[in-house]
């Protein structure tokens, strides 16, 4: 078992997302570490892909900044290896990059050994193996449907990593069953229809989704559109085991990049936002924390 399930044991988990390499390699590292200081329980690290069909303009912007700074799967793995954080890390990326990595690895290997290229079913293995090596705990692959996920699921099982799936408000019946039979770590509950992006309202579709999922034991983390501590509180009160926040954090990175601010300043702002969200989530679970008064301490009782 990976470290992810533990992260959900001590109360509602705060799961922030950032695109690795946004706006540049070194700043990005400071930002991820700031999120950990701010109370992140799991961190989703985006490996940018040039055609991110599930993302809204905010995260597309991050993807463009990161790619134009030279981000590649290999650079991503180096980044993860160098990170100084103590929480589980989930790689969020598109299937093309995982699939392609296996192809190029297999090709190199077969050229070296003269053997036939690896079977189709082995394609994701090289990527998963390398991810495990650098300290990744699991994956979210938004464009990989459960129907096509067997090869990646098998590779994750082999290396003891989790495979997170997204459940939409429209996911029901057989497809929901199939997803829930493949998922591990946590299930990513998409709060509403559409693409990612911070919104002012929290959708009522969330409650229905959580209701449908209640028969399964796996932790339910709700994402899409959360940007304030109050929203985090409401969602946890509604039964979520965790909250996932991406665009609201990427917005902070984007503003910092646009204004040419120092990475330290932006990192402080991310840490404060993380603390707000984590505290909100804790409130939702009925845990009041002191740091709301002075805003300094990490609201994470199981760590103190």
């Amino acid at each position: 078992m990976s470290r992810i399930p533990e992260a959900f044991e001590g109360g509602p988990a705060f799961v922030p997302y950032l695109a690795v390499g946004d706006p540049d390699y070194e700043s990005s590292k400071q930002y991820v570490e700031a999120l950990a200081r701010g109370g992140a329980d799991v961190i989703e690290l985006g490996l940018p892909f040039s055609e991110p069909i599930a993302e809204g303009p905010t995260i597309q912007g991050a993807v463009v900044r990161s790619l134009s700074g030279g981000m590649t799967p290999e650079r991503f793995f180096e980044f993860v290896a160098e990170l100084d954080v103590d929480v589980p890390l989930v790689c969020m990326t598109y299937y093309n990059l995982i699939y392609r990595y296996g192809g190029s690895e297999a090709r190199r290997a077969s050229e070296a050994s003269g053997e036939a290229a690896s079977e189709e079913a082995d394609r994701p293995r090289a990527f998963v193996e390398r991810a495990k090596e650098v300290g990744i705990d699991g994956f979210v692959v938004p464009d990989l449907p459960a129907e096509e996920a067997d090869p990646l699921r098998e590779a994750c099982d082999e290396f003891d990593l989790d495979l997170v799936f997204i459940v939409a408000p429209t996911t029901q019946g057989e497809r929901l069953e199939r997803i829930m039979s493949q998922v591990s770590g946590y299930v990513y509950v998409q709060a509403r229809l559409g693409v990612t992006g911070a919104r002012d309202d929290v959708s009522g579709q969330t409650d229905e989704s959580l209701g449908r999922l209640s028969q399964w034991d796996v932790p339910k983390a709700v994402g899409f559109g959360i940007k304030t501590g109050e929203q985090a509180e409401r969602i946890v009160r509604g039964g979520a085991d965790g909250i996932i926040v991406g665009s609201a954090l990427v917005d902070i990175v984007a503003e910092g990049a646009a204004d040419g601010e120092d990475a330290e300043v932006v990192a402080d702002r991310l840490e404060a936002k993380a603390r707000e969200l984590k505290t909100g989530a804790m409130r939702g679970a009925g845990v009041e924390t002191e740091e709301e008064d002075d805003g300094q301490e990490v609201p994470n009782p199981e760590r103190t």
Partner: protein
């Protein structure tokens, strides 16, 4: 010919190619679209309405033309399936009428589409006007700049044209923008995909609506010659005109050839010929062949300027049912000129790739009669070509 190559996919799986690699939120609308396609589009009523539209609105059937002068010059009998004679000037209208009719019956209020050369965008704008549906077209800025006339046509017919400046500002970026729109607006919007690409059910749905090309051509060719052509040739960008032509001949002893955008040569660093030279990837919701990572997607023709290809073509290549070759820019331009001068028919630059491949096949001497799908007319390309030829 293997058995596998002749099977028509009912679940979007083409021997491991195809599939539906999309965010979970798009699954349900695609399921519903597949159900509507299998339910509504297979009824006799739908067929009758579709046929009427094809005849009365689009101008079917299109003729086949024996290109006598060209045959003499090239050294084999060349027949042209004249999709250039359709309303709008290209085969695209077949698919658009089918999908718009389906969208209308399924209660959608809005159409969106991506377009490369603008032909599909124009055809979508037409059916948007015809069915009184709000229509928004995504077009790469690079393509919009080189196909201004089509941008004006779309706007004249009431469509909103959204010029995409992301990425390389080409067809792939227009597809991304349209998919994003679709993800936002799945409830009321039909994404009118323009080729046999994308997630299931699009490849098999577009094939069905385009297969009228081959069905007609097969009947016409038999009536005219008493037999079938030795070879069928079509250009391949996404590959809908090619699939449309091939489908009716899939179980016949007719050799298939696909002419891809060879750009500066399929071995160069600038081409759009993933079947001639590429690898398996997952892109735009499907598993298919894509050009290599270090290749810049390029073709002289905007409609072929696409890094991937329809999954059924990837399957045809894998099982050996069709031979795909990259036809480079110069060869296509020469054929564009040949057909204009020899027959008084100005082809679309896309279709000129098919003519160029027919010329090579004639020179190789294996096939006596060659049926070329003339998928569109060249009015849209005249300005670009006039500059190149210094006319």
């Amino acid at each position: 010919m293997s058995d596998q190559s002749t099977q028509s996919s009912e679940d979007g799986d083409f021997e491991g190619y195809g599939g539906r690699y999309v965010p979970e939120v798009m699954e349900e609308p695609l399921d519903r679209l597949a159900e509507a396609f299998e339910g509504i589009a297979r009824t006799p009523e739908f067929h009758a309405e579709f046929r009427d539209l094809l005849e009365e609105y689009a101008g079917r059937p299109t003729s086949i033309t024996y290109a006598g002068n060209l045959s003499e010059a090239y050294g084999a009998d060349i027949y042209l399936k004249r999709e250039d004679l359709l309303h709008g000037g290209a085969h695209k209208i077949n698919n658009c009428l089918g999908q718009a009719l389906l969208a209308d019956k399924a209660g959608k209020e809005r159409l969106i589409a991506e377009t490369g050369a603008g032909q599909h965008g124009v055809a979508t704008a037409m059916v948007g006007a015809l069915f009184d549906l709000d229509t928004e077209i995504y077009m790469g800025k690079k393509d919009a700049d080189r196909q201004r006339m089509n941008v004006f046509r779309m706007r004249l017919m009431g469509a909103e044209v959204n010029e995409v400046t992301d990425g390389g500002s080409g067809l792939a970026d227009a597809v991304d923008a349209a998919l994003e729109d679709f993800a936002h607006n799945v409830e009321d919007t039909h994404y009118l995909v323009g080729s046999v690409v994308g997630p299931d059910p699009f490849p098999r749905m577009v094939r069905e609506f385009q297969s009228v090309i081959g069905e007609e051509a097969r009947r016409q060719f038999e009536a005219r010659t008493g037999g079938l052509p030795d070879a069928a040739v079509a250009c391949v960008g996404g590959g809908s005109n090619a699939i449309g032509l091939f489908h009716a001949f899939r179980d016949d002893p007719v050799a298939f050839y696909g002419a891809e955008g060879g750009g500066e040569g399929a071995d160069s660093a600038r081409h759009a010929a993933p079947l001639a030279k590429g690898r398996d990837e997952v892109i735009h919701g499907m598993r298919t062949r894509v050009i290599d990572e270090d290749v810049e997607v390029h073709s002289v023709s905007a409609g072929l300027d696409y890094p991937g290809v329809g999954p059924e073509h990837a399957m045809f290549r894998a099982v050996g049912r069709c031979e795909y070759r990259g036809v480079d820019d110069n060869a296509a331009l020469a054929a564009f000129r040949d057909l204009s001068e020899q027959e008084g028919i100005i082809p679309a630059l896309e279709s000129a790739h098919g003519v160029a491949l027919a010329k090579d096949l004639a020179a190789e001497g294996e096939h006596d009669s060659i049926l070329v799908n003339l998928s569109g007319r060249g009015d849209k390309d005249v300005e670009q070509v006039a500059r190149m030829f210094d006319l």
